[in-house]
């Protein structure tokens, strides 16, 4: 695998292979010294044009557990915030000698543009591009679902027949997009729920079902309920009238939590708006796997870094 730009570039075997490799990586964390020498001497640059503490820390932890050197450039207090272009920033750090760029950027397609540009030779890992995709989040979500459903017997399995309901601001969500495409590849079925204003135009051509009624969706007893973060600035742009109305219609509140089937797991990519799209009781309940998602994120990112950096052009 040369780059990881979109989960749509992954076929089913490759995707399952990444999840399996992440299982191996997770085992490393249980060792006395949770570190592998695999990427010793390789350098990973985290290039974060957009602030994202959790994704950046997750990639840093993943790279360090593989013994890679890590350079991090984040938006605040760097040349990035002084208007330096993607091209110049990428070429500048590339000139220092790097093997992979982990790119977070506010513009959709930025990782694709960097990978296609020939500005640099390094592998490019998309760590979130605008409202397009967040492939490692999609992978860690799939991993978390598989692990929660199958435990130690997860290796080699897909998500055939798993029913996932994703709730909220689909329109602006790169997490939702990566989940939709990857879950389809892995055999799960996806149901999208949200106000009509936050369901993208043309969503009917996606491999999903869609609705606007959260209670009806939950009555179907899905295996997974994934709540998406809602940004309050959407209210100003007339996507919905008020936070209270949003929470009432599309929030996973305590009453809805109580009605969930025993097997339904609750997911959230974070950071959470407690009291808006998810109640504290839901976030902290036994069926919430939110913290597992965070832990699994490191394993998934170790697997992805390993695949793009091990050997020359090896793997998928």
């Amino acid at each position: 695998m040369k780059h990881l730009l979109s989960v749509r570039d992954l076929d089913r075997d490759t995707a399952v292979g990444i999840l399996d490799l992440a299982e191996d990586m997770a085992d490393v964390a249980t060792r006395a010294v949770p570190k592998l020498p695999t990427l010793r001497g390789r350098t990973v640059a985290n290039l974060f044009f957009e602030d994202s503490t959790r994704t950046r820390l997750s990639f840093e932890a993943a790279a360090k557990r593989l013994s890679a050197d890590v350079i991090t450039v984040s938006a605040k207090g760097s040349s990035v915030s002084k208007g330096e272009s993607l091209k110049d920033t990428a070429q500048t750090i590339a000139a220092m000698g790097i093997d992979a760029v982990v790119l977070r950027h506010g513009a959709s397609g930025a990782a694709r543009v960097l990978a296609d540009s020939h500005w640099i030779d390094a592998a490019v890992i998309n760590a979130g591009d605008g409202t397009h995709e967040h492939p490692t989040q999609g992978l860690l979500d799939a991993y978390t679902m598989r692990k929660t459903l199958h435990g130690d017997a997860a290796r080699g399995k897909s998500l055939d027949g798993v029913r996932v309901t994703i709730v909220g601001d689909i329109l602006h969500s790169r997490v939702a997009r990566s989940n939709v495409w990857l879950l389809q590849t892995l055999g799960a079925s996806v149901h999208l729920v949200g106000p009509e204003t936050l369901l993208p135009l043309g969503v009917d051509s996606w491999p999903v079902t869609r609705g606007t009624d959260l209670d009806a969706a939950l009555a179907e007893n899905p295996d997974v309920v994934m709540m998406l973060r809602v940004q309050s600035e959407r209210m100003q742009a007339a996507f919905f009238p008020h936070e209270r109305e949003y929470a009432r219609q599309w929030g996973l509140d305590d009453a809805r939590l109580a009605r969930l089937a025993p097997h339904t797991m609750v997911m959230h990519p974070g950071p959470m708006n407690r009291g808006l799209e998810i109640s504290s009781a839901s976030a902290d309940s036994a069926r919430s796997v939110v913290l597992h998602q965070v832990a699994n994120g490191v394993s998934i990112r170790m697997a992805v870094l390993y695949l793009v950096l091990s050997g020359s052009g090896a793997g998928a």
């Binding site: 513009a107 959709s108 397609g109 135009l201």
Partner: protein, 437 residues
Amino acid sequence: MTLLITGARLPDGTNTDLVVKNGVIAELGPGLSALGAIVIDAAGLQALPGLVDLHTHLREPGFEQSETVLTGSRAAAAGGFTAVHAMANTSPVADTAGVVEQVASLGEQHGYVTVRPIGAVTVGLAGERLSEIGAMAQSRAAVRVFSDDGKCVSDALLMRRALEYVKTFGGVIAQHAQEPRLTEGAQMNEGALSSELGLAGWPAVAEEAIIARDVLLAQHVGALLHVCHLSTAGSVEVIRWAKARGIRVTAEVTPHHLLLDEQLAAGYDSRFKVNPPLRRSEDVLALRAALAEGIIDIVATDHAPHPIETKECAWQEASFGMVGLESALSVVQAAVVDSGQLSWGDVARVLSRTPAAIGQLAGYDAPFTIGAPANFTLIDPSARRVFGLEQLHGKGANTPYLGRELPGRVVATVHRGVPTVLDGELRPAEEVANRVA
């Protein structure tokens, strides 16, 4: 200077020789000769009247790193044009007599094409109050087309007043139809593809709603309206409806909207980012049919040069626009001529006679007649070439056609009797400027 062109095929399909003397067509017919003339063997070549672009961004004054009147004029001549209308979004904006006179006189001085400035509708393109339309109309530049292109005159009252006021001076408003609130942050055509790519959608209705409003305003005040760069099938239907009701509206389409569709955005290559955006393939087909049917009156390039750094970046950070003067004729041939939808006579109409009429530019109503100004181009429609940087003569390299095979080649262009292109090569600037002088 005397020119003898032998064996050219005219737009009506007949073959003739031409003698050009003192800037006009002096003789027509078979077997002509002229002592001491520059001879152009036009056997197998198609003669077209000099192309007239109603929608060109020359960028001077203010954005000379993108284009100048000289470089844009050269790009135009290389594409077979003999006249361009220079949009007003320069810096300073062309909203005073001084700026339009400067642009027109730079065009005269260089001589490659006739440069007709377009005046801004509102001061600074700000959409707040009318610019000095009368002063520009009565200036030496004799402006007749007014446009805030790049921005929409979105305020309905201001648009109404503009339509009425330009009537005073026999002018026309050329509207850039883009409802601003519906297109805040918009990046590409809104639909399933924009949703997949995560690029903010630019709905067709943002264009169609403004056109619908404006044709009704034009009807109400009895004014002329020209609609820039139609891009959707729905816009075609609105124009069709307006024309059927006798509303005096003309419409334009760009070459790129006749050939390219939104699928090209899928790789996030910002060379395909343009305003209005590339639309669905259904829209492309509707635009072609409307041009053939006469619902759309003209083709105009919307030549929009940009420095390379404004395109070497992520899609949503990139500038909107493509250069188009050098490729326009080839793209029109590829989109509608080779398919049989338009004849070369139709091309002469949509790329020369009608745009000249809308711009009230004299000398283009009866081309290839004795005494007519010698503005024409000779093209080889049978040529095929892979479009490359060597075909570009302006400062902008932001063409969507690099690496694409396109038909047709401009062999010669003559502006007011002066060759600006011979043997497919631009003539030197000093030669053209001196001969025009």
